[in-house]
């Protein structure tokens, strides 16, 4: 049996098995319920890992461990005999700057009831205004934000929808906009850069976090870079507001750079504040850019633009306070690669190498990987770099090393962990080779004089604050 026969047999076997599997699409409600269960498990794991001891009490209060997060509601009978309910997850009165605006909250409830639907499902018979819960309503930044919770009866969990509109508009108008669905999680957060949901050249976005868990919400901006290329993050803990919620108006001035990152209680990881439609490249990225420093290829095309966008985002520096230079662009083997330097205030250079993997399945046609390196202040012509892209399972134990030397360099010599040395000629300052255990590189010019040295960087510099920091 030759390879072709065997592979054909494998394909037939797989096809037969796949076609024989009765993969019936379940009802949407079951899918959503399953996802909610996964989220709960994930949250519990994260909370346990984080050592949030107080979480246990909170979980007990909302009975997460004994079944779905179904309405274990607080039901109070006030003197007038009417029902008053509060959220099972976020108990207590409505929070936010509009919490005291009875007319606004009533209009929110009426708007939900008027449509007879919520999250595209019919409201259960008998649903009245007291069944429409509003855990949050308020103006933050340029936005008016409302969180509405309804028990639809068709789901194992309540359904939460975040609605948003421009600050100050009436409730009916807020409820008219498309909402964002959130699951019945113990922590829910909402971030939007503008009332239109898109990155804006100006304006103030909004971050709101509600939590049934104890813990902090931290907000980080940056990094800023010292002249020697050391990043520093500005991390601050937000003060909680009444009802265990947090609000922050977030300025947004440059769509090429994220305005910040944040953490939520029970989760030590950073949430990146991506602008909506983050797949689109900000305009004008290549305006005025010179040809590549090495090889003089023009700074043009979507590949270079994507590399510039990556470098700018990694730098954290606003475009109008930084300069950009294409150092090199071309093919690394068969993969397009571009190296871009963003010179930040203080003179350091944040250099990002982006290697693209052409693919046919993506709408924009490309995916890839990148490494960011910080270089101390100095002329770009003298920059010496060596990096290894992430490669979790390298063949033959070797590591792919790409290098970019000073302008005068013609040869690179890689030193490995055993002291072995491998030399390679550079083309337009660039070289690419595979070495076992590469440690450092030395660049030499045509006369054999050393003109630069660099350590082989694997992970690059962090582009987010350290966890827990």
């Amino acid at each position: 049996m030759n390879d072709d026969d065997l592979r054909l047999l494998v394909r037939d076997s797989l096809t037969e098995r796949a076609e024989a599997l009765p993969a019936v699409t379940p009802p949407w409600d079951r899918v959503r319920g399953g996802m909610a269960g996964i989220r709960r498990r994930r949250r519990r794991r994260q909370a346990l890992v984080g050592g949030v001891v107080a979480l246990l009490a909170v979980l007990g209060a909302v009975r997460v461990d004994v079944g779905p997060l179904r309405a274990d509601r607080t039901a109070v009978t006030p003197p007038d005999g009417g029902r008053v309910r509060t959220s099972a997850i976020f108990p207590g009165p409505t929070v936010g700057s509009l919490a005291g605006d009875r007319g606004f909250l009533d209009e929110v409830r009426r708007s939900v009831l008027r449509t007879g639907r919520f999250a595209d499902e019919a409201l259960p018979a008998g649903t009245d205004a007291t069944d429409v819960l509003v855990p949050f309503a308020g103006d933050v930044g340029d936005l008016r934000i409302v969180l509405v919770e309804v028990e639809l009866g068709t789901s194992a969990t309540d359904t939460f929808l975040w609605f948003d509109a421009a600050r100050g508009v009436p409730a009916a108008e807020v409820l008219r906009n498309d909402p964002q669905l959130t699951a019945a999680e113990l922590v829910t957060s909402f971030w939007l850069p503008s009332p239109q949901g898109r990155a804006a050249e100006q304006g103030t976005g909004a971050l709101v976090v509600l939590s049934a868990l104890t813990g902090d919400v931290r907000f980080a901006t940056g990094p800023t870079w010292s002249a020697d290329g050391t990043p520093t993050w500005d991390v601050r803990t937000l003060e909680p507001m009444a009802g265990r919620h947090w609000e922050l108006a977030v300025p947004w001035t440059d769509p090429a750079v994220r305005p910040g990152l944040y953490t939520v209680p029970g989760d030590s990881g950073w949430f990146d504040m991506y602008p909506a439609g983050a797949g689109a490249l900000p305009g004008g990225l290549l305006d005025g850019m010179q040809p590549a420093l090495h090889g003089a290829r023009p700074a043009a095309g979507v590949l270079v633009a994507r590399a510039v966008a990556s470098a700018q985002a990694a730098s954290g520096a606003l475009r109008d306070r930084s300069t950009r230079r294409l150092l090199w662009t071309g093919l690394d083997g068969r993969q397009p690669l571009s190296v871009v330097a963003v010179t930040v205030p203080g003179g350091a250079h944040v250099v990002t190498a982006v290697r693209e993997i052409p693919e046919t399945g993506s709408s924009d046609g490309f995916a890839g990987s990148e490494v960011t390196v910080a270089v101390p202040a100095g002329p770009l012509e003298r920059v010496a770099l060596a990096w290894a892209f992430e490669e979790p399972d390298p063949p033959d134990g070797t590591t792919g090393v790409a290098v970019l030397g000073p302008v005068s360099a013609t040869t690179v010599t890689v030193t490995d962990e055993k002291g072995g040395r491998t030399a390679e000629r550079l083309v337009d300052g660039f070289g690419s080779l595979r070495v076992k255990g590469p440690v450092s590189v030395e660049f030499t010019d045509a006369a054999g004089t050393t003109v630069g040295e660099a350590a082989v960087v694997a992970a690059g510099v962090p582009v987010e604050p350290p966890q827990g920091g």
């Binding site: 394909r11 796949a18 996802m35 996964i38 909402p179 797949g279 993997i357 063949p395």
Partner: protein, 180 residues
């Protein structure tokens, strides 16, 4: 329902069978496959705002493939592979062409189940999904060289398996008889 959720629901309901079958080939277990798809979808929904305009299916499939590998790794620490007793005997007893073809496919399926997770994933992605070497490397987060060498090793292991050698012998005998 928000536009986002509506789009996500449509995606899930439309692609569910294909995703589960894909996960099934990667894991060999229907229940695990559904679970794996659910986990991948939950992850995708968290990032939907970012991936919806790009290629959400590629994102989900990548999450499924990587999840399958990590799950298989976790499982393989607890459960030893079962021996394939009786497979060769089944092959020998297959008398008709149709029965033998079926036996061949069954034998391959069982041999695939014995492959290490990454090796099995490479086989599924390259031979069934028809992904290129580069695409497979991206999905599994490894180099193109790894994909090539892994597929080569997988092919060798399949070919070297005892039941498939027997099977080849049965086929050769049949061919000889036809020639006579």
């Amino acid at each position: 329902m928000s536009a986002d959720e509506s789009q996500f629901r449509d995606f899930v309901l439309h692609r569910w069978p294909q995703l589960v079958r894909y996960a099934y080939l990667l894991t060999g277990d229907a229940m695990q496959a559904e679970d794996l798809v659910q986990v991948a979808l939950e992850r995708s929904w968290r990032h939907w705002g970012r991936i919806r305009s790009d290629n959400p299916e590629a994102y989900v499939r990548t999450a499924v493939a990587r999840g399958a590998i990590s799950r298989f790794r976790a499982r393989s620490r607890r459960v030893a592979e079962a021996p394939l007793d009786g497979v060769v005997a089944d092959l020998r007893s297959a008398t008709t062409d149709g029965a033998q073809a079926r036996a061949e496919r069954d034998a391959v399926w069982r041999q695939l189940a014995a492959l290490p997770p990454r090796m099995r994933a490479v086989v599924v992605l390259r031979l069934w999904e028809d992904l290129t070497v580069e695409e497979t490397a991206r999905v599994l987060g490894c180099s193109t060289g790894t994909v090539k060498s892994t597929l080569s090793r997988a092919t060798e292991r399949l070919r070297a398996s005892a039941d498939l050698r027997e099977l080849a012998g049965v086929r050769a005998t049949d061919d000889t008889e036809v020639t006579r």
